[in-house]
């Protein structure tokens, strides 16, 4: 277990400082936009920026991809088996998503009080009643993006460029097919039922109430399923020279 601890430590500590580089750059850009708007319009009423959490999607996505391309190589060079590599990578996702969700929740809730019209992602969907749920939801959303992209890059690495393109085309086709099925095959009643179920999964009840636990459980389910899928693929991954 000592070796696993060191692998986790490697993953987390080599990524930690870049989180703060990312925020420093992001908020420097926001400050610049704010300054330009203030000078050019003479007003600071509307910053024109909201939901900065969406930028974090890009960051966690890049880290997830690097988890395969860079960290996998480093750990396999140092004799780690795939199970340990997977656990340490998921630990990095938990660590990174936890910290970034915390920072984004705190920053978002501060910004909405000092910047006119600013909204957080969670707040714009569910409101601002529960900060803990806001953090938990964002944490799971970041985790979802991490494991989704990690699975995608693992599959691409495993099956190669040509098959990945074919898979992409097939996925695109499936989306079109599902859209067509919704439009032309399913009855209105069936479509409404599916939409209602999806809304429930996101916490919106038919009576207008919101149950925060449902989106949390839905995201958790996706994370677990994608995580199991990633593990199934990484167990068979071979290093390409």
């Amino acid at each position: 277990m000592g070796k696993l601890k060191e692998a986790i430590r490697y993953e987390c500590s080599t990524s930690f400082k870049y989180i703060w580089y990312f925020y420093a750059i992001q908020y420097a850009i926001v400050a610049l936009i704010y300054a330009i708007l203030s000078i050019s319009t003479g007003s600071t009423e509307r910053l024109g920026v909201s939901c900065l959490e969406t930028n974090t999607f890009i960051y966690v996505g890049i880290v997830s991809i690097l988890g395969m391309t860079e960290d996998f190589k480093m750990l396999i060079q140092n004799g780690f088996m795939r199970k340990y590599i997977f656990i340490s990578t998921v630990s990095l996702f938990v660590f990174m998503s936890g910290i970034m969700a915390l920072f984004d929740t705190a920053a978002g809730n501060i910004l909405r009080h000092i910047v006119y019209g600013y909204t957080t992602l969670f707040g714009s969907i569910y409101g601002y009643d529960n900060i803990f749920i806001s953090w938990l939801w964002l944490f799971l959303l970041y985790m979802f993006i991490c494991v989704l992209l990690y699975l995608a890059i693992l599959v691409i690495y495993k099956i190669g460029k040509t098959l990945s393109i074919c898979l992409g085309v097939a996925l695109g086709g499936t989306v079109l097919l599902i859209t067509a099925v919704f439009q032309y095959v399913l009855s209105n009643e069936a479509v409404n039922k599916i939409i209602e179920t999806a809304a429930k999964a996101m916490g919106f009840m038919p009576d207008g109430t919101i149950i925060y636990l449902f989106p949390v459980l839905t995201l958790l389910l996706f994370v677990v399923v994608l995580g199991i899928g990633s593990y199934a693929v990484i167990r068979r991954i071979e290093l390409k020279s």
Binding site: K3, E6, K73, Q77, N78, G79, F80, L239
Partner: protein, 286 residues
């Protein structure tokens, strides 16, 4: 007996058989030359030993423990690879720090000491190093690891002659002080001929021979002279290759020397390891 046992390993890539039912062993406490032409299957086998790829059939057993996805062999084997697998954005001193955390047997002081001997700047990032110094970092990491089985895959790639000599010196000194198994896969055969004790020659995915260097050099020789006399002498011998030089014919033979016929114009000369390798892999041998 402690060893790396390669048991019936087969590996195929899209219709190409890279390794075809390969079986042999690397015994503990010897220095091996693991030789073969480009695409012979050396790196494939090393990658299977290091768990970087999987065999389609067969298994690698290290000291009676299966090496496949098994952390029990983590402190037993280390493979320095030809390709760059390290975190390229880390400084060399940080690479050493992490390797010392990953391996109990990593001697970080020794790593810095070897770095100084090679003038390797440990404050530089891996990606900022020249190809030669990247190789130096990788072989430094391997030399500072005190595991029983060390595999070097093209260790002197991009190194100048001085650095290559220094590496061979350090390797031998290290081996004198701490006997273990060292496996060197390289194309620079003559450079390692004086270091290695045993040769494993692989060609087209099969083991062509496994023999001690002394035995090989003792049984490999070259007979040269007029064609008819050479042909006559070579009858019933294991000829692994021929060359022609004007009117002279040269035959490369593996096996017992028989005395030259009385009054013949033939000459017998020793065959070096590189020539032996070339002739064996040129024709396949028998």
């Amino acid at each position: 007996m402690n060893s790396i046992l390669i048991k019936n390993i087969t590996k195929r890539y899209k219709g190409v058989t890279a390794l075809d039912n390969v079986s042999f062993s690397f015994e503990y406490g010897k220095i091996y030359g693991f030789l073969g032409r480009n695409g012979a299957g050396k790196s494939t086998l090393i990658n299977i030993m290091a768990n970087r790829i999987f065999a389609d059939e067969g298994e690698v057993v290290i000291d009676q423990v299966s090496a496949k996805e098994n952390m029990e062999v983590h402190e037993k084997i280390f493979c320095m690879s030809e390709v760059d697998l390290y975190d390229t954005s880390l400084k060399i001193k940080d690479q050493f720090k992490w390797i010392s955390r990953f391996y109990d047997s990593f001697d970080i002081e020794k790593a810095f000491d070897i770095s100084r001997k090679f003038n390797l700047d440990t404050n530089k990032r891996f990606k900022a190093l020249s190809k030669g110094y990247q190789s130096i970092f990788k072989l430094t990491a391997a030399l500072a690891l005190n595991v029983p089985y060390i595999v070097f895959d093209e260790p002197v790639l991009g190194l100048d002659v001085n650095h290559r000599e220094l590496f061979y010196d350090l390797l031998l000194k290290d081996y004198e002080n701490n006997e273990r198994t060292i496996i060197i896969a390289t194309h620079l055969i003559e450079e390692i001929a004086n270091i290695i004790e045993e040769v494993v020659l692989i060609d087209k995915g099969k083991v062509l021979l496994q023999e001690s260097v002394d035995t090989l050099l003792g049984t490999g020789y070259c007979v040269s002279g007029p064609e008819q006399e050479v042909v006559s002498y070579c009858r019933d011998k294991n000829v692994i290759g021929n060359d022609e030089l004007g009117n002279l014919k040269l035959a490369y033979i593996l096996g017992e020397k028989s005395p030259l016929p009385h009054g013949s114009h033939l000459q017998i000369t020793a065959m070096n390891l590189q020539k032996l390798f070339v002739k064996l892999t040129e024709k396949g041998g028998n």
